[in-house]
C-alpha cells in the first residue's frame, strides 16, 4: 500500500514538474541566436577581417555555429580569446605569439602631402572612416577609426601611418598605485 502511495506521489511530482518545465520552455523561449550576439559584444569591432571573416559579426556567427577557432581575433588578443572560450565552453587555444597582448589604441593618419587621392584606402576602410574623393587628398576621421590597419597595405604611396594617441590633459589617466607590500615579492 505504502509503495503504491509512494509511486503515486512521485508520479504526480513528475507530471507537475514536467508540465512546469514544458511551460517554461514555451514561455521563456529565446529568439535568435543569443550566442552570436554575446560573442559579438566581446569582439573589439575593429572589423579588420584578420580572422578571415568579413567583419566581427560574421566571425561571431561562425563561432556560434562552431565553425571557427576561438583564437582568430588578433586585435582582441588573448583576453578576447579567453572570453570567447568561456562563452562557448570550449578549451582556450593559444594565440599567435605576437597577438597575446592587446595593442594600445592606434589610429591611422594620412600624410596629406603625399596622398595622391587614389581612393583605395576609402574602399578598404570597413567603417567608412576615411573621407575624400578621386584626385583629392583623403583624411581619416580620427574618432571613427578603429585602428584595423586595413588601409595601410593598400596605399600605393605608403602615406598612411598608424599612430598612438598622444597623452594630453584630455585623455591623461591617473596611474594605478603600485601594488601593496603584502603582495609584493
Amino acid at each position: 500500500m505504502s509503495i503504491v502511495a509512494g509511486l503515486l506521489i512521485f508520479f504526480a511530482l513528475a507530471v507537475v514538474f514536467g508540465l512546469l518545465l514544458g511551460y517554461a520552455a514555451v514561455r521563456f523561449k529565446i529568439e535568435g541566436n543569443p550566442l552570436a550576439e554575446l560573442i559579438d559584444k566581446k569582439l573589439p569591432q575593429t572589423q579588420c577581417g584578420q580572422c578571415g571573416y568579413p567583419g566581427c559579426k560574421p566571425y561571431a556567427e561562425a563561432l556560434a555555429k562552431g565553425e571557427a577557432e576561438v583564437n582568430l581575433c588578433i586585435p582582441g588578443g588573448e583576453p578576447t580569446m579567453l572570453e570567447i572560450a568561456e562563452i562557448l565552453q570550449v578549451e582556450p587555444k593559444p594565440m599567435d605569439a605576437e597577438a597575446t597582448a592587446p595593442k594600445p589604441r592606434m589610429v591611422a593618419v594620412i600624410d596629406e602631402d603625399i596622398c595622391i587621392g587614389c581612393v583605395l584606402c576609402i574602399k578598404a576602410c570597413p567603417v567608412d572612416a576615411i573621407v575624400g574623393t578621386t584626385k583629392m587628398m583623403h583624411t581619416v576621421i580620427e574618432k571613427e577609426c578603429t585602428g584595423c590597419e586595413l588601409c595601410v597595405p593598400v596605399c600605393p604611396v605608403d602615406c598612411i601611418d598608424m599612430v598612438i594617441e598622444k597623452t594630453s590633459l584630455k585623455n591623461w589617466k591617473w596611474p594605478e598605485p603600485t601594488v601593496a607590500a603584502e603582495t609584493q615579492k
Binding site: 598605485p177 603600485t178 603584502e182
Partner: protein, 340 residues
C-alpha cells in the same frame, strides 16, 4: 616616474597600533584570569605566541611573501590571544598548539593572508578544537576559591607540558564549565534558578563568580577599545542587546527552563566575544547597519546554541555562521550616499 596621490597627510594610525591596542585591552582579563585561575593561561599564551611566530614565518615563506612587514602586523597575536582565552587553562600543550596552527593556516593564510579571510581565524581554531577534543574542551579549571587550591606556576607548567598531575586530587581542580553544568542540570530536570544557587555558581565577590569577573574584565578592556575607537560600537551593542533580549524573553516565559539575563551575560565567552571576537573587522560586516545585524545575529545564534544545541557555548559556531552571511548583509545594508 613615481606618482603619489593626495592626501599627503595622515593621522598616524597603523595596523600595528590597532592590533597592539587590542592586545593592551586584553590585559585586565589576563590579570583577572591569573588571579582567579592560576598561571595556566600565561603558559598557554606563550605556547600560542611561539606557535604563531613559527606558523606565520613558515606560511609566509611558502606563500612567497616577505616575512618582515607581515609578521609585525601583530594580527596573529590577536588571533591566538582570542583563542587562548577560549580554551581551558590547564589543557595539554598540544591543544593550543594545534588550535593556533589550525587557526592561522586554515583560517588565514590559505585564504590569502590578513584581510582576505572570510572566517574569524580564532573561532575557526576554536571550532576545530571543540570538534576534535570535546573532552579536553569542557573540563575547565576550577577557580581557586572553589577548588580551595591554586596551582603554582610549576604545577601548571608540568601539567600542561608533561601531563604530570599536580599534588592534589584531580577532581578538585577541574570541573564542568558553568554553562555546561547548567545545561546538564536542566536536562536532568533541575530548574535553572536552583542550579544557579548551587554553591559553585553562587560564589565569589558580590556573588559574581570567577567566570563572571573575567567577563567584567573583558567589559572594561572593551570599553577602552570603544573609547579609542579601535572597535565599532555596533558589535558589542548589537550582540549584547540581542543576547539579553533573547534571555529576557525566554526567562520571562519559563524561569525554570531558561536561565536569567545575568547568567547569559556573565558566563561563558560572552564579553570576550562581544569586544574581542566578533569585532574582528576582516571577517565581519563593514556597513554600520550591517554590523548591527551581524552582531545581533550572533547574539541570537549564541542563545539558540546554548539552549538547544549540542554544545554548552555556541560562540564559535555562531560567529562562523554569521561570517558566512557577511557578503549578503553587506550587499543589502549599504548606507545612503549623499545626494541619492
Amino acid at each position: 616616474m613615481k606618482f603619489s596621490s593626495s592626501p599627503f597627510a595622515h593621522n598616524n594610525s597603523s595596523v600595528q597600533k590597532v592590533m597592539l591596542q587590542v592586545q593592551l585591552a586584553a590585559f585586565p582579563a589576563l590579570l583577572a584570569h591569573i588571579m582567579l585561575f592560576g598561571y595556566g593561561i600565561v603558559i598557554q599564551w606563550f605556547l600560542a605566541v611561539a606557535t604563531a611566530l613559527l606558523v606565520e614565518y613558515v606560511m609566509l615563506k611558502l606563500r612567497d611573501r616577505p616575512a618582515l612587514p607581515n609578521i609585525t602586523d601583530f594580527s596573529a597575536l590577536i588571533t591566538v590571544t582570542g583563542l587562548v582565552f577560549c580554551i581551558p587553562p590547564e589543557s595539554p600543550w598540544w591543544v593550543i598548539v594545534s588550535g593556533s596552527a589550525f587557526a592561522l593556516v586554515f583560517g588565514k593564510h590559505l585564504y590569502g593572508g590578513l584581510g582576505y579571510n572570510p572566517f574569524n581565524p580564532a573561532m575557526l581554531g576554536y571550532a576545530f578544537l571543540l570538534i576534535s577534543f570535546p573532552a579536553e574542551m569542557t573540563q575547565w579549571t576550577l577557580p581557586k576559591e572553589i577548588a580551595g587550591y591554586g596551582l603554582s606556576f610549576w604545577d601548571s607548567f608540568n601539567h600542561i607540558i608533561f601531563g604530570a598531575l599536580p599534588h592534589a586530587p584531580i577532581d578538585s581542580f577541574t570541573g564542568a564549565t558553568p554553562l555546561s553544568a547548567v545545561k546538564t542540570g536542566i536536562q536532568e530536570g533541575v530548574s535553572a534558578n536552583q542550579m544557579l544557587q548551587a554553591p559553585y555558581l553562587d560564589s565569589g565577590l558580590f556573588h559574581i563568580t570567577a567566570w563572571g569577573w573575567i567577563n567584567v574584565a573583558f567589559l572594561i578592556g572593551g570599553a577602552w577599545l570603544m573609547y579609542t575607537r579601535t572597535i565599532r560600537w555596533q558589535f558589542p551593542v548589537g550582540f549584547l542587546a540581542s543576547l539579553a533580549l533573547m534571555a529576557w524573553i525566554f526567562h520571562s516565559i519559563n524561569p525554570d527552563l531558561y536561565a536569567p539575563v545575568s547568567f547569559h551575560l556573565l558566563f561563558g565567552g560572552t564579553m570576550l566575544a562581544a569586544f574581542f571576537i566578533i569585532t574582528d573587522p576582516v571577517s565581519s560586516s563593514t556597513t554600520p547597519m550591517g554590523r548591527l545585524i551581524y552582531a545581533a545575529g550572533i547574539g541570537i545564534l549564541v542563545y539558540v546554541i546554548r539552549n538547544w544545541g549540542a554544545f554548552p557555548d555556541g560562540i564559535a559556531f555562531a560567529v562562523i555562521l554569521m561570517n558566512i552571511a557577511v557578503p549578503l548583509i553587506d550587499r543589502y545594508t549599504q548606507p545612503r550616499v549623499v545626494g541619492h
